[in-house]
């Protein structure tokens, strides 16, 4: 039993959890911990240049690896800067442990310098949070924090540590196991319910696999592919599930939802049995709820019981981990006749041929969709793609040939501009040998551009492909469609010199206006050991299509050829 300070216990706990990389930013209340970070050798610390970026980086690390990401911030403004990061991870169920400094216990409640109620503020955007009140409970709290973050439906956990506790000396014993009597996630699905669901699949005529981010979180993609292959049931993926089926999988119709493709949205509108795996019927996916899967019974597999029946009535609820449920389900489907759904697949294939995911390319100007497809051709399945939020994100989701889960990292639930670059840094720290590309916009990239310095300092060569339309393009698109082209505060004609900006921070910049420049710049960028900005001038008034207007029925899509150009 070793005697040590609370600060050292924090480091020892992080090491005991096997964490290799911590992202963070120091300050008064967390300084004792930073003093111990200086002395230890168990993990590396990356100094991001903003706490929001530190949490996003830990988040990107977690999404790329499936492990718990760790970030560390100081009290007050350090913590409040981290809130967007927590909320982003919370909405996408990403396992994080964020450690924040807090004023000494004796000052709590006195409006002390840099005091803010961190557990109060973070309550609605964390899975759970802790304020450490005694040194004795610190090791247990860390053990529980990591356990809660990664078990059940994963999520971010905040541990707020008052400064005096980091100074106090005590014995450190890190618990081997966790016992929280009030927290016992359900992993195995109910046997009877699974049997009923299997019967429903066997008697359906037009079943559809509706695949959500939960499949990625559960590392269940092989089982899902097996399920599809065995039954020959067609599949649609949500934004969070891109890569699960693999781009070339003939059973994959594509992405569904607001910017889903025609076949996917029509499939959902006509199916008679939705097999929902780790999806949560988000409004951006369902459109008008009363029209969503109107003719279907619904099987809903989710580890979070509260997701089931929250928005739609479910006929076959199965609470459990997708991996466990599919392991139980697959053998029961042994005798299923794959020809049974052939007529249905034929209908859907015709839909795919009728309205494929398409755009009109150009030789005069780079089309953003072309740029994404080109990245796919040049770096393909090995690269990790992160993105920010806007049109570029939707085009990336639509056009990139994702081959495996965890290849596509984006903020789906919260839609946080500024997520992509720091998340790319996190992913690159986890996989230094992989090409990591952030597909971003001229608006989003500025929201965490200080990370150029972080990436340069740590020789973390991520490539930022800025699809520059000189607009807050997604908002501009809505203004075009729904606000009679009044472009209120979305024109970004005033621009920084992106190339010079990258260079000023120790990176490399490229200005790209033609396809050949694009190829040359991308090939050069991925060979570099420096962070890059590729400033790609793209067609300004390009729109993301198909589009289901917010609140509309999924089958009422605006399709490419029905929209006249704007420019």
């Amino acid at each position: 039993m070793r005697q040590m300070s609370g600060a050292q216990m924090v480091c020892e706990a992080i090491i005991a959890e096997g964490v290799k990389t911590v992202f963070g930013y120091p300050g008064g209340a967390i300084m004792h911990v930073y003093d111990e970070i200086y002395k230890q050798k168990g993990f590396e610390h990356i100094l991001n240049r903003h706490e929001q970026a530190a949490v996003h980086a830990a988040d990107g690390y977690a999404r790329a690896t499936g492990e718990v990401g760790v970030a560390m911030v100081t009290s007050g403004p350090g913590f409040t800067n981290a809130v967007t990061g927590l909320a982003t991870a919370y909405m996408d169920s990403i396992p994080l442990v964020v450690v924040s400094g807090q004023v000494p216990l004796s000052l709590i409640g006195t409006d002390g310098f840099q005091e803010i109620d961190a557990v109060g503020i973070s309550r609605p955007c964390t899975k759970h949070n802790f304020l450490v009140r005694t040194l004795e409970e610190l090791p247990r709290i860390f053990k529980e924090a990591f356990y809660i973050a990664r078990s059940g439906r994963p999520g971010p956990v905040l541990v707020d540590v008052p400064k005096d506790i980091t100074v106090d000396i005590g014995t450190f014993v890190y618990p081997d196991s966790v016992n929280i009597p009030s927290y016992k996630p359900t992993y195995k699905g109910n046997k009877r319910q699974i049997e009923k669901a299997v019967e429903a699949i066997k008697s359906a005529k037009k079943p559809l696999l509706y695949i959500g981010g939960g499949v990625v979180l559960s590392n269940a993609y092989k089982l899902v592919r097996e399920l599809a292959a065995k039954t020959q049931i067609p599949a649609v993926e949500t934004l969070m599930a891109r890569g699960v089926m693999g781009a070339k999988n003939p059973l994959l119709l594509g992405m569904l939802g607001m910017h889903g493709n025609y076949a996917s949205n029509m499939a959902m509108s006509e199916t008679d049995l939705v097999i929902s795996l780790g999806a949560r019927f988000d409004d951006r996916v369902t459109g008008k709820l009363s029209e969503f899967a109107k003719y279907a019974d619904i099987i809903h597999v989710d580890i979070d019981a509260a997701n089931i029946g929250k928005l739609v009535d479910v006929d076959y609820p199965i609470v459990g981990d997708i991996t466990e449920v599919l392991k139980a389900m697959l053998p029961q489907l042994d005798g299923v006749d794959a020809n049974r759904y052939k007529a249905w697949r034929d209908v859907l294939n015709r839909y795919s041929e009728l309205h494929p995911q398409s755009y009109i390319d150009s030789d005069e100007v780079i089309k953003p969709q072309w740029a994404i497809e080109r990245i796919g051709e040049l770096v393909g399945k090995d690269a990790i793609i992160t993105s920010d939020v806007g049109q570029h994100q939707m085009w990336a989701a639509q056009h990139y040939p994702f081959d495996r889960p965890r290849q596509w990292i984006n903020s789906g639930g919260l839609g946080t501009m500024g997520f992509g670059f720091p998340a790319a840094i996190g992913a690159k720290r986890a996989y230094p040998d992989k090409t990591v590309i952030n597909i971003t916009g001229d608006g989003s990239i500025l929201m965490n551009m200080q990370e150029l310095v972080t990436a340069a300092e740590y020789r973390t060569p991520v490539v930022n492909v800025i699809l520059n339309n000189h607009f807050l393009g997604m908002v501009r698109q809505w203004q075009t469609f729904f606000y009679e082209k009044r472009y209120s505060e979305t024109d970004l004609s005033f621009q920084p010199n992106f190339k010079a900006l990258a260079e000023a921070c120790g990176g490399i910049g490229y200005d790209v206006t033609t396809k050949s420049e694009f190829d040359a710049a991308l090939k050069d960028a991925i060979r570099q050991d420096k962070v890059c900005f590729m400033n790609v001038a793209v067609n300004r008034f390009e729109n993301v299509l198909p589009m289901v207007p917010a609140g509309g029925a999924l089958f009422n899509m605006m399709l490419p050829q029905t929209i006249e150009g704007d420019a």
Partner: protein
């Protein structure tokens, strides 16, 4: 089904005793727009748990969602949403001494209570009864010009 949309429900929540657990519950209700009609909390004897009783209203579907969301909170051990509950609420009421004390005393006796304190200017009564009857008591008491009525909130136990 006319009444199904706004039925009154009582939910019992058994939680681990820790300082922030009540705020986790109330902020869950606030954040998700659930209504709290009354809320009581007290430790469960000889345990490290507390019993929280929440009276709320909404449809069956909403109740199911509230129950599940409550259950997701880490320190929540058990959530009981049951039709078969014995419910009681306590009320203290203060009346001017000049009012008809005999009537007040009879009234409170009719609602399982009685006079608990008499001062120079005021008389205090306590009653404990089912929430619906408590409402009636408070209405009836208005006749005697109560200066103050303090309700305790509903406590409930499964039958």
């Amino acid at each position: 089904m006319p009444n199904i949309l706004n039925e009154r429900r009582v939910i019992s929540v058994i939680v681990l005793n820790e300082s922030s657990v009540l705020s986790r519950i109330t902020s869950l209700f606030a954040a998700r727009g659930y209504n709290i009609e009354s809320l009581t909390v007290a430790p469960i004897p000889n345990s490290d748990m507390s019993h929280i009783t929440i009276a709320t209203n909404g449809s069956t579907k909403l109740m199911e969602q509230i129950t599940k969301q409550l259950h997701k909170l880490i320190p929540v051990y058990k959530v009981i949403e049951h039709e078969e509950m014995v419910e009681k609420e306590m009320v203290l009421a203060k009346f001017p001494i000049a009012e008809n004390l005999a009537d007040i005393s009879v009234l409170s006796a009719a609602y399982n209570g009685g006079v608990v304190n008499v001062g120079e200017e005021m008389i205090i009564v306590m009653v404990a009864d089912e929430p619906k009857r408590i409402k009636h008591f408070i209405e009836a008491a208005q006749r005697y010009n109560p200066c103050e009525v303090v309700r305790g909130g509903v406590v409930a136990i499964e039958r």
